[in-house]
Symmetry: C2
Subunit: 148 residues, 2 copies
């Protein structure tokens, strides 16, 4: 009986050592993964921003391609915020207020889907509006959950 | 006439200062961009590899999702290898043998499209074969163009 209890304990300990970040070989990979996905997304998003803000000529085709990449990339970073992956610029609040963090990440994904649709219209004003909403979603999450 | 020549020279100089990497604010961003895209791709590709090599249980749905992300990500890094973006682990040969480098990047993209199709069959042997071909494409390019 004691042996069984020891075995059960060992199994439980093993499970505890395999958190949601199990798909990453080590926590550093999860951190690098989310930072990489956010950086790629940010690069394409900022190109749309340059067009929306009149700092670059409006190129409807490029904007549509950028927006599709933004929408694809927006799905990825969140898997890199699993248990035990605290670090980088991520505030500890992410792991304490997971429901709120998920609300923000869901919101961003919804906004980027709208952004991609807006970009496909080829209308700069439509794109500007969608860019503004999406940027607001980025900022709200950064204000709450990103440190320096 | 002299004024016109000066103007033409100034315009040419401006063009020379706006290389293929113009979509990045600075060369470091291009380097970080390509490294980020390759890292995200590599993470998802290695998950397929773990299944193909029997180190992780075969999960057809996860493999198909990973392969779709790999195929999407495989399109991105190359824009980050524009003129004036030497650095990181990239060998200088990339900028000297651009046709050969492009052959490798085109090959990878074609292989990842096949990988995504193979993953959708839900057949592990089909996935293994496609994983092997894709991994061969990664390796060939790394051997030729990636330093340490």
């Amino acid at each position: 009986m004691k042996k069984l209890a020891t075995l059960a304990f060992a199994a439980a300990a093993l499970c505890a050592a395999v958190p949601a970040s199990a798909q990453f070989a080590k926590p550093e990979d999860a951190i690098k993964y989310r930072q990489s996905a956010l950086f790629v997304m940010g690069q394409h998003f900022s190109r749309i921003g340059a067009m929306a803000n009149g700092k670059a000529p409006f190129d409807a085709k490029a904007a549509a391609e950028d927006a599709d990449i933004v929408a694809d990339m927006a799905k990825l970073p969140w898997a890199g915020f699993g248990a035990g992956t605290e670090g980088g610029k991520a505030k500890p609040e992410i792991w304490k207020e997971q429901a709120k963090f998920k609300e923000h990440s869901d919101k961003l994904q919804a906004e980027t889907v709208k952004l991609a649709a807006a970009a496909k219209t080829g209308n700069l004003d439509t794109l500007k509006a969608a860019f503004g909403s999406t940027a607001g979603s980025c900022k709200a999450c950064h204000d709450a959950f990103r440190g320096r």
